[in-house]
């Protein structure tokens, strides 16, 4: 019987404790930089799309929410024709970011994506592409890849030697 009264008293004292509630819209929680939120597609420092349309993100995605179609421009640079993420399916696991070989797809600390219509949760490439390089400021895939694209011949990339001329006798 005494324990009952003690319980009542202790619960009563909770009235004067600090509240644990975060008053969300006014009081924003701290989101660390590695928070896995809304997915974006970044650009390299030159402003070109980083995505090379390798499909690795789509393969890695456990809920199949990424759809894309790779294509090439005249100079041989690959890019996605369309890139579509269905955020009503996305579970924000970050596997796509891990799979991406060019740091193109990245998860950002933003979760405020509420919509009144489910259709609006399907993000197209225009919705996903941002203007900056995201978490990797200096990185440019095409500058370190040994592939020839428009404006860059083979061997002109960073840390890259010119190709060996097999027909020359000189060492």
């Amino acid at each position: 019987m005494l324990s009952v009264i003690e319980t009542i008293w202790r619960v009563f004292l909770h009235l004067f404790r600090k509240r644990v509630t975060v008053q969300y819209p006014e009081q924003k929680p701290y989101l660390p930089p590695r928070w896995r939120g809304r997915i974006i597609l970044s650009r390299d420092p030159d402003g070109g799309e980083r995505c090379v349309g390798c499909y690795l993100c789509a393969v890695a995605c456990p809920v199949d929410c990424i759809a894309l179609q790779a294509t090439e421009d005249q100079t041989g640079r690959r890019y996605p024709d369309f890139f579509r993420i269905n955020f009503s399916r996305c579970i924000f696991c970050g596997y796509c970011e891990e799979a991406c070989p060019t740091y193109a797809i990245q998860l950002t600390p933003d979760f405020e994506m509420g919509e009144y219509h489910r259709q609006n949760l399907v993000y197209e490439k225009e919705d996903l592409l941002i203007d900056g390089p995201g978490k990797y400021p200096g990185y440019n895939f095409w500058r370190v890849a040994g592939v020839k694209i428009g404006g860059k011949e083979k061997g002109e990339g960073q840390h890259e030697a010119r190709p060996v001329d097999l027909r020359s006798l000189l060492p």
Binding site: V4, V11, F12, L15, K18, V20
Partner: protein
């Protein structure tokens, strides 16, 4: 001692009782949240006060569904009974000197009778729903009411002995020198426990026991019919708090402040206590509840009555 405009008193009591019951929706959620280190509803209007309005709009817009297997007439009637019986009890409560709808000479008996009738609401709802959980809830309610009604009445007989009247106004007047909480402390405790059981509030909410019976007797109710049970429950809490105030804490009596304010303040205190009980205590098993009622509370109530009677007899000689 009734006022010259009885219709005004009736309307006043009705409006105050119903708005207090509606306000309790907000108060209970805020207080429960407080006891759990949360804020509770604080978005709609100042301090979330308009939450009541939002809840009401919501519950009126809900689909009002009567299951095809239910006993229609009884099903519709049951929620009304609880509200009507509790509101009837409010008629004999003296809120301030002269503010009383009907100055009945057996006011206390009337209140007890009406609260007993209120059980029909729960039992009929459980029966008419034709659902095993509802029926179990109704059964539990009737058993619980039967056993707690007995010592509820007995615990109040001490007060009646001391004041020498069943009239609630006379009972309040008899507390001018000393509130009955002092000579009748045991009676107060017994009535408090019986009152909680009578309103089917936690820890005595076995008739609806969400974890066992889904929602007990109102499993099949929706929309405003469910809302009626809700209003009935809050009205019941208000009624029992008002009764405790009148019977043990001197009703409107108190220094400085106007009598109406005193009454409301005391009533408010006990309403808050009811909510605190809900936050603090777990629900007992049903056999524990029954054993408690018959083996502990009833003998205590009888002993209280005997001792009070003996003392009152010795005093009068």
């Amino acid at each position: 001692m009734t006022s010259p405009y009885p219709i005004l008193t009736i309307l006043g009591v009705l409006i105050v009782a119903l708005s207090v019951a509606a306000g309790l929706i907000w108060l209970e959620r805020r207080l429960l949240a407080g006891f759990q280190d949360r804020y509770g509803p604080n978005r709609v209007g100042p301090f979330g006060l308009l939450q009541v309005l939002a809840d009401m709009i919501k519950i009126f817009m809900k689909e009002d569904w009567i299951p095809p297997f239910a006993d229609r007439t009884v099903f519709v009637l049951a929620p009304a009974i609880i509200v009507v019986t509790v509101l009837m009890s409010f008629a004999v409560l003296p809120i301030a000197p002269g503010v009383i709808v009907s100055d009945l000479n057996i006011g206390l008996l009337f209140v007890l009778g009406m609260s007993s009738l209120g059980v029909y609401s729960v039992v009929l709802a459980g029966w008419a729903s034709d659902n095993k959980y509802s029926l179990l809830g109704g059964l539990r309610a009737s058993a619980q009411m039967l056993s707690y009604e007995v010592f509820m009445g007995l615990s109040l007989m001490g007060v009646v002995l001391l004041s020498g009247s069943f009239n609630l106004v006379r009972i309040v007047e008899a507390q001018r020198t000393l509130w009955f909480i002092v000579p009748q402390f045991l009676g107060f405790l017994l009535f408090l426990i019986a009152g909680v059981a009578e309103t089917r509030r936690l820890p005595f909410d076995l008739p609806e026991a969400e974890s066992e019976l889904i929602a007990g007797y109102h499993s099949e109710y929706s929309g405003m019919k469910f809302g009626m049970f809700f209003v009935g429950e809050y009205l019941g809490v208000t009624l029992i708090s008002a009764l405790i105030t009148i019977l043990f804490f001197g009703g409107w009596l108190g220094p400085v402040l106007p009598p109406l304010l005193w009454f409301l303040a005391k009533m408010f205190f006990f309403i808050c206590f009811f909510i605190l009980l809900r936050a603090a205590l777990p629900r007992p098993r049903f056999d524990q509840l029954m054993a408690w009622g018959w083996k502990v509370m009833l003998p205590l109530a009888l002993a209280n009555l005997l001792i009070t009677g003996a003392v009152a007899l010795a005093w009068s000689k």
